[in-house]
């Protein structure tokens, strides 16, 4: 029976519409993303004619992510990033607007003096309202459960999304001063080989010469004594 095995692909292209983040959690800030791939190489001399592919062993992909999680998460805006990168002078102020007239200034002051900055007002919306659990707690629970359940998840990297990642190490630093959680996650990729099988061929080898067939029955016989000599007949002679 012929068998083949091959590896399933360990990564996929990033989906433009859905962000995978780390195992589905995206409300975090990634300070550094590190991609590590090591290979075991032989240090001893190889025999002449050795098949090189057999001597080089690829280790699984390892990804290290350090970052920060706090209770307020504002996703970055690509347009703001684009503007911040552009530090060139985009213009020159030629003329300033006129000062406000007294009536315009009064409208201005009315808005500022309104109830909006009254802490007891119902118009206020604080960061913790509307959330059941703080973002930091959610993050910690999510990452711990990924480890405890020993499940495989996907990690989004700048170039592509890596599948079948298992969390090798999780480090959480609870910063009480800044009210945030720093984290370091090391994840390793698990690789799978798929076995394929083929049906056995009907006549696998011509050289077998009928050996795979069943016995030919030659019937019953009563072997007759032979007057001629065999090699060992001296054993039974008088």
């Amino acid at each position: 029976m012929a068998t083949q095995s091959y590896q399933e692909s360990g990564f996929e292209d990033k989906d433009e519409t859905v962000s995978v983040g780390i195992g589905g959690f995206t409300a975090l800030v990634r300070l550094t993303d590190t991609y590590i791939r090591t290979i075991e190489l032989p240090t001893s001399y190889l025999e002449d004619g050795t098949h090189i592919m057999d001597q080089i062993i690829l280790n699984p992909v390892e990804i290290t992510i350090t970052g920060d999680v706090s209770d307020i998460h504002i996703p970055g805006s690509s347009s703001v990033d684009a503007v911040e990168q552009d530090t060139q002078n985009i213009g020159e102020i030629g003329q300033y607007k006129q000062e406000k007239s007294p009536s315009q200034q009064k409208i201005n002051d009315d808005i500022i003096d309104s109830d909006l900055d009254d802490e007891d007002s119902d118009n206020q919306y604080t960061a913790s309202e509307g959330l059941q659990k703080s973002n930091q707690t959610e993050f910690a629970d999510h990452m711990k459960s990924l480890q405890d359940s020993k499940s495989l998840f996907s990690i989004e990297m700048p170039d592509r999304t890596y599948k079948n990642m298992a969390m090798a190490s999780l480090e959480l630093d609870y910063d009480n001063e800044g009210n945030s959680t720093g984290f370091t996650i090391v994840a390793s990729q698990l690789r799978f080989a798929i076995t394929k099988t083929e049906a056995i061929a009907k006549n696998p080898s011509a050289g077998l010469g009928g050996q795979t067939k069943s016995d030919k029955d030659k019937g019953t016989q009563e072997p007759k004594e032979d007057p001629g000599k065999s090699f060992l007949s001296y054993l039974i002679e008088d």
Partner: protein, 114 residues
């Protein structure tokens, strides 16, 4: 006198039933082309021996304590074991059966019959 087993053809798997002196034996001969050898399986009563290679000038199943044995005789005089499919059918090799009386002579004593 040893007995001759006849009717061995060039079929690579053949089954012979031998009857002599109230003993019945089922002999299965097989030819293995990859290693150019003949081997045999033997059934005597409830006992079976599998995969004994046929060689010239020796008794094959002495340690089995059966009351019979086999020998191959090389008519060409070379002393080569049966290695071709046609060795028996052409008559180059002859398969002899030593029955219980012969083996009593060889061993010096009898063995239980099944």
């Amino acid at each position: 006198m040893p007995r001759i087993i006849q009717n061995i053809t060039d079929a690579p798997a053949q089954k012979h039933t031998l009857i002599f002196n109230d003993i019945q034996v089922i002999l299965k001969l097989r030819f293995l082309s990859t290693i150019e050898s003949w081997i045999f399986d033997l059934e005597y009563g409830d006992n079976t021996i599998y995969g004994v290679k046929l060689s010239v000038g020796v008794l094959h199943i002495a340690s089995s304590n059966f009351p019979f044995d086999f020998e191959v005789y090389d008519a060409s005089g070379n002393g080569t074991d049966p290695f071709r499919l046609t060795d028996f059918s052409s008559g180059r090799c002859v398969l002899y059966l030593y029955d219980n009386e012969n083996m009593e002579r060889v061993r010096g004593t009898g063995v239980p019959l099944l």
